[in-house]
Each structure stands twice: as C-alpha cells, then as structure tokens.
C-alpha cells in the first residue's frame, strides 16, 4: 500500500473512532489503525512522517467537523495512539538495529572475501613470476645464438618486451592485493584473542591449560587481525615449548592502561607461563634475529625478533621478565583505539 493511500485510510479510521456509537466500534477502528502502523514499519516510514500523517488527519477532522469536542478526540484517539506510537517507535528501533547488524556483517564478510582474493592473487603472482623468469632467461640465452639485427633477434626482443609487460601487470596486481589485505583496521582484540585461543587449544599438548582473563568486555587497536594472531600464536607456542611435556598453564591477560599526561591509553596483553623460565643472559638476547634455544630444525630463531618488529610497527612495546624454574612473562602494550564503536 503506497504512503498516500495509508494517509487517507488513517484519516478515515480516525473519523470512525471518533464518531463510533459503541466501544466495540472504537476498538475495531483502532485495531485497523494498528495494522496500518505495522505496515508503516515494513515500509520503514520515518517516525517524523508518521507524526506528520497523524497531524494532517487531525486537521482534516477539525475542518470537516468544526463542532467536534477536543475532549472527545483526546479520549477516543490520543490516549490509545500514544501507546501505539510508543509500540511503533520500539518496533522501528528493533528493525533499525537488525538492519545495521546486517550491513555490518555484510561488510565484514566482504572484507574477508577481499582478503582471500588478495592472498590468492599474491599466490598466482608468485607462480607467474617464476614462469616469466624461465621465459625471460631462456630468451636471453637464445639471443646469444642469433645473428645481431636478424629478424629472429627482433622477434625475440618482442617476446622479452611482452614478458616484462606481464611482469609489470603482476606487480600492479600484487600492489592491489596488498592494499586490500594489509590495511590496518580497528581490530576488536577480545574477540580476536578468543578466536585465536580456540586455534591454539587444538594444537597445544593436552597437559597445558590455556586461560584467558580480561578485565574489559572489548577493546580495539589499529592493526591487521593476522598480525595480532601471529604475535599471540608465537608467544603461546614458545610458552608451550618452555613447559614441555609437563603439566602447565599459559595465562593470557588483557587489561587497559588509562592515558596519563605522558602516555596515551594502551591495551596491555600479557602472556605468562609456568615453564622452565630463562636466566638473565638469555632473556637479554631473545629478541635478536637468529637467537634460538631450540634444537636445529625446530625453529629459525626469527619468531621473537619478528614479533618485536611487528609490535614496534603497531606503535607498541614488548618486554619480558623471566625467572628460571618459575616461568616467563611477555608484556605487550599496544595503543588503544579509543574512538571506535567497540568502546561502547
């Protein structure tokens, strides 16, 4: 039903209610008006317009029936309508919230899809460059065997030109893929840690308890979700290695550090284990590239140095404290994103 028809129908119903002979007829007219109201919700007519519609209908009523008593209108229409109006505004809000949620979910889904496309594009680009490497290399070798200025030499140079055009195209594709997948966005870290812990639980030994304690229901940082996951997974895998085949616990803690005059608000992530711990001389070197205490082939020794670099890139800090026989604790402070919806 178009909005103009609804306005007319509404005016009719008001008249019926006001001039009804008995209370049942008033009831029937108001029920019909309520149905009309539900239709307005479906059509997503804004509240102001509904108010306008009501106002118009009242004016019409006053014009056609100048002798109508205001008290009669108030008793028969205004009071039930106030209730209907409140119900309407509630229904409208629920619908609005539902729609907002749907839009947010669709955006999230799209960004996930774009990230997948980006990863795929990077993989294809890599394979293509390897193939082009073979084509360009052999065509250069072939050039040695052809007479200079021969037509074969010219044809070969065209092959090379085309190959480099393909290379440039791939470079552009990679740049595009990168901008899609690498853009730092507000990351809600509590949910992300929860998701990452699910992944970790599946891969850590059964004897290791994994606990997550957070003092806030949500907190946001500006990062790529994969970076935060990489940091957390690396720290937890190191912690699990420190615990080894024993029973042990890894505790992940999250809290907020409020802004001070010298320091902006930070999110503090702590990963603590009750494993073997480290003496001070090893502690000092854990962030050095290639430093590792793991057996050869068990790790490149790049994990913690990469994490150190990542945390720095995100504008944060990482620190370690460890006691042999007691365990180790890594503390990471990342700038909190306070102007995000996740704060509310």
């Amino acid at each position: 039903m178009p909005a103009s028809t609804i306005t007319l129908r509404y005016a009719e119903l008001l008249q019926q209610a006001v001039f009804a002979e008995d209370s049942l007829a008033i009831e029937a007219a108001l029920t019909a008006a309520a149905d009309l109201g539900r239709e307005l919700v479906v059509l997503e007519i804004p509240l102001e317009e509904v108010g306008e519609m009501h106002h118009e209908a009242l004016i019409q009523l006053g014009k056609t029936h100048p002798d109508l008593l205001l008290a009669q209108v108030a008793e028969r229409i205004t009071v039930p309508l106030m209730e209907a109006y409140m119900a309407y505004s509630l229904a409208f809000r629920v619908q609005l919230e539902h729609r907002t949620e749907m839009i947010v979910n669709a955006r999230l889904e799209q960004s996930r899809r774009l990230e997948a496309i980006g990863t795929l594009a990077a993989g294809i680009a890599h394979d293509f460059n390897n193939i082009l490497g073979i084509i360009v290399g052999f065509s250069e070798l072939l050039g040695d065997e052809l007479a200079p200025d021969s037509s074969a030499q010219h044809h070969l140079s065209f092959i090379q030109q085309a190959s480099f055009r393909a290379r440039d195209l791939i470079a552009r594709m990679l740049t595009f893929a990168r901008t899609m997948a690498d853009t730092p966005t507000p990351v809600e870290i509590v949910t992300l840690i929860g998701d990452t812990i699910l992944l970790l639980r599946a891969s850590l030994p059964i004897g290791i308890r994994l606990e997550f304690i957070t003092t806030v229901p949500s907190a946001s940082v500006l990062a790529e979700a994969s970076q935060i996951q990489q940091i957390l997974m690396n720290l937890c895998i190191n912690a699990a290695d420190a615990i080894g085949n024993q029973q042990g616990a890894i505790t992940i803690e999250l809290k907020l550090l409020p802004a001070t005059p010298t320091q902006r608000a930070m999110v503090r992530l702590t990963v603590q284990d009750d494993g073997e711990g480290m003496p001070p001389d090893i502690c000092q070197r854990v962030f050095d590239p290639f430093f590792t205490t793991k057996a050869p082939g068990k790790g490149s020794g790049l994990g913690l140095s990469v994490i150190h670099g990542l945390v720095g890139k995100l504008g944060g800090m990482i620190a370690i404290s460890s006691t042999p026989g007691v365990g180790s604790r890594f503390i990471i402070d990342l700038p909190q994103l306070v102007d995000s919806p996740a704060r509310n």
């Binding site: 980006g118 990863t119 990077a122 680009a125 890599h126 394979d127 293509f128 460059n129 390897n130 082009l132 490497g133 073979i134 084509i135 360009v136 290399g137 052999f138 250069e140 070798l141 040695d144 190959s163 480099f164 290379r167 470079a171 990679l174 893929a177 990168r178 997948a181 690498d182 994969s226 990489q230 590239p289 290639f290 050869p296 490149s300 020794g301 790049l302």
Partner: protein, 123 residues
C-alpha cells in the same frame, strides 16, 4: 671464475640459470631445495649461493638461517617470484633482513644478474 650453487625447486629455472652463469664464465651446480643445498655445501664449499625463497621441504629462509648459525661466510643472493608476500610467509624482505648480499626479484635480466653477482662478490 667462481663456483656457484643454484637452489630452486623449479627444474627449468635451474637449467636456465646454470646455463646463464656458465656463460658468464662461472661453474655451477644445482639443488632442488634447502636440504639438498646443505648436502651440496658439505660436499664442496661453493664460492656463492643463489637461492630461491619458497621451496618445499627446507625453504630458502631456513637454508639461510641454518648456514648463518653454522658460521658460514658464503655470500648469498636470494631470488623470488614474490617480492613481498601478503601472508605470513617469508620473502625477499625477510632475506634482506637476514643479511644476504643481494636480492633479485624474478623475472630478472642477465644484466640484473651480473649486477647482483658483482654486488655479492664485492664485499
């Protein structure tokens, strides 16, 4: 003339690069991954290693890390089709951080290879 070890999982690429460095007047051997490369290094120490990054079994980054930990001073040129991967995989940037002498994105010209060889051997 120097001895070069070429490490790449793509056979046609190994054939091409071996031919190319031989025409530059050097000797070359090949390996298909990091494990084969480590064996080849033990058998006969090369003067220079040219290694791909993404390979099955032991990749180029692990190879560079293993050689570095064993105290090897053999200069390395890292080559790769992916300049910078968007996933967590390592790449030429990581290799550069790990102290390789030169990096060469694929595809490269013979001229670019000559420059990389000169850079790697100049130290």
């Amino acid at each position: 003339m120097i001895n070069i070890l070429i490490v790449d999982d793509e056979e046609l690429f190994r054939i091409m690069l071996k031919e190319m460095v031989e025409r530059e007047g050097h000797q070359a051997r090949t390996a298909a991954n990091g494990n084969e490369a480590l064996k080849a290094v033990q058998q006969q120490r090369p003067d220079l290693i040219i290694t791909d990054i993404l390979m099955p079994e032991k990749d180029g980054i692990e190879l560079i890390a293993d050689l570095s930990r064993s105290g090897s001073q053999i200069p390395i040129i890292a080559i790769s089709g992916g300049r910078r991967s968007i996933s967590l995989e390592f790449n030429l940037e990581s290799a550069a951080l790990m102290g390789v002498r030169a990096t060469l994105p694929k595809p490269f010209t013979r001229e670019a290879l000559r420059r990389a060889l000169a850079d790697a051997l100049a130290h």
